[in-house]
């Protein structure tokens, strides 16, 4: 009898896994369960091109919706999984039905971290994770709208850039001392701070938001230092939380994400996981980590799908990320740490430069701004774990490929 593979989650990882299973010749039943009303789609444009109204929703799909029917993939949208019975190898769904699986892939991703502050119930306060969020924000984001963004990370700054271009009055409130603190060096933070300021965005750092005021809809954002900012619209981007609850309740090992091995297998031999939700080992980096990135979702999903079919291919990639703000393409390869030695390549004034991070003499990360060549070169160089002369690295005319 045909096997049934069930995929929980219809994001980048779920979509990629279904595609890989079929392209590798799996002929059994595939059921994919998603909580949104859409087939798997590209999430990054939600805070960029989709918000700016530059692209239509039907250009976001990973595969056109008819593909799932053509490939005999039972895509169940608007559906949640209530629980996993791993002894009985079945799932209970929010519509009351139960489905049996032979192998299961958990690709539940993350959800936004919400701020439980006074006034949080007011209208006009949004988070951004799904198409519905973008559409709701878009409806209120018009020229001259006062937009207050809580959190100066990727999402906050991308929304700020779209708002500024649209002619909104944008203020970004960041709790730490600089924007994108977690992911880039102070030099890169300063460059982005200046770029936003030049575009008319006000960035306030080191300020903690304590609540919202308004009648029905939000009209003010209140901060710990007593300052207040007028707001017609608030967008909060303060990180995400992995959706591990059903896995944990089922008895799978969870520790800063759903724990999997290098083949994307969980502590249960018939259950796999991929994407933002996983805590996985990476031999290239040494140690375990949980990532929030499309690259990880796609690549780990391929590993998981192969493993579900009995082909074990170790997952170990140098992680990479990107953010588009204004005319700046920021690409991040590798993971930097605050104590890394920072080497500048090129002049920020040209809007094309890179910042390199050395640890014990080895290149571990690069932030490339409008510099796709360095981005590509860095991927290989970081994986090579070679010691590199900082003076040579600082010479922007010497390609990374030649180091």
């Amino acid at each position: 009898m045909d096997q049934t593979f069930v995929i929980i989650g219809a994001g980048h990882a779920g979509g990629q896994a279904a595609a890989t299973l079929r392209s590798k010749g799996f002929e059994g039943k595939i059921i994919m369960i998603g909580d949104e009303p859409y087939a798997p789609y590209e999430r990054p444009p939600l805070s960029k091109a989709l918000l700016a109204g530059e692209i239509e929703i039907d250009r976001l799909y990973l595969k056109k919706p008819s593909w799932y029917e053509d490939k005999d993939i039972d895509l169940r949208v608007n559906t949640l999984v209530d629980s996993i019975d791993k002894a009985g190898k079945s799932l209970a769904l929010s519509d009351g039905s139960t489905i049996a699986y032979d192998k299961l892939l958990i690709a539940t991703g993350t959800r936004v971290r919400k701020l439980a502050l006074p006034g949080a119930e007011l209208g006009g306060i949004f988070y951004l994770r799904a198409i519905a969020d973008t559409l709701a924000i878009q409806e209120r984001m018009k020229p001259d709208t006062k937009v207050v963004i809580v959190g100066g990370g990727y999402i906050g700054l991308e929304v700020a850039a779209v708002g500024a271009k649209m002619g909104c009055d944008v203020t970004v409130l960041e709790g730490l001392d600089r924007v994108m603190n977690r992911v880039v060096s102070p030099e890169v933070s300063a460059f982005y701070h200046e770029t936003h300021t030049a575009a008319g965005v006000k960035i306030i750092t080191g300020v903690g938001v304590t609540g919202y005021e308004g009648e029905g809809d939000v009209s003010k954002v209140i901060c710990a230092d007593g300052s207040a900012y007028d707001a017609d619209l608030v967008v909060v981007g303060v990180g995400v939380i992995p959706n591990c609850e059903i896995a944990e309740e089922a008895g799978l090992t969870v520790e800063n994400g759903l724990v999997v091995d290098e083949y994307a297998q969980t502590s249960d031999p018939d259950i796999y996981a991929a994407g933002d939700v996983t805590n996985h080992p990476n031999a290239l980096l040494g140690g375990r980590l949980r990532l929030e990135s499309v690259q990880n979702a796609v690549d780990q999903a391929k590993t998981a799908a192969n493993a579900m079919l009995g082909t074990l291919k170790e997952y170990a990639e140098i992680p990479w990320f990107w953010s588009d703000q204004y005319d700046l393409k920021l690409q991040i390869v590798g993971l930097s740490e605050p104590d890394d030695e920072v080497v500048m390549r090129g002049d920020p004034a040209t809007k094309k430069f890179s910042v390199c991070y050395l640890r014990d003499g080895e290149l571990v990360a690069v932030n490339a701004i409008n510099n796709v060549k360095d981005f590509m070169g860095a991927k290989k160089l970081i994986a090579a774990h070679r010691k590199i002369d900082p003076a040579l690295l600082a010479d922007a005319d010497t390609p990374l490929k030649q180091m």
């Binding site: 392209s23 250009r59 595969k63 393409k329 796709v372």
Partner: protein, 104 residues
């Protein structure tokens, strides 16, 4: 319906249906290609690399500097190399012949 002749990484050739007005990458993605196109068509990652058949190169448009920079960093760049997200699939490309480049 327009079509594209695609040779995949296993060397198997097939004819796929294509839609005019979207990119070559989107057309490949809508079918069964192994292309990743991780960045979603932003000319950022070079994971949608294809080789355009010699007879079609002239009709497939020209590379931007950025696309060229990305391609030049790949080990397997060739004469007909393109990032498929940067190729608009026009009516003129009906019958296009391409090969999916190796995964790097």
């Amino acid at each position: 319906m327009a079509t594209i002749n695609v040779t995949n990484r296993d060397g198997e050739t097939s004819k796929i249906d294509a839609e005019v007005g979207i990119s070559l990458m989107e057309n490949l993605r809508n079918n069964d290609s192994e292309l990743e196109s991780i960045c979603g068509g932003q000319c950022s990652c070079a994971t949608c690399h294809v080789y355009i058949d010699d007879d079609w190169v002239a009709r497939s448009g020209t590379r931007s500097d950025e696309e060229t920079e990305l391609l030049e960093e790949l080990d397997c760049m060739k004469e007909g190399s393109r990032l498929s997200c940067q190729v608009d699939f026009t009516a003129e490309l009906d019958g296009l012949t391409i090969v999916i480049a190796p995964d790097e």
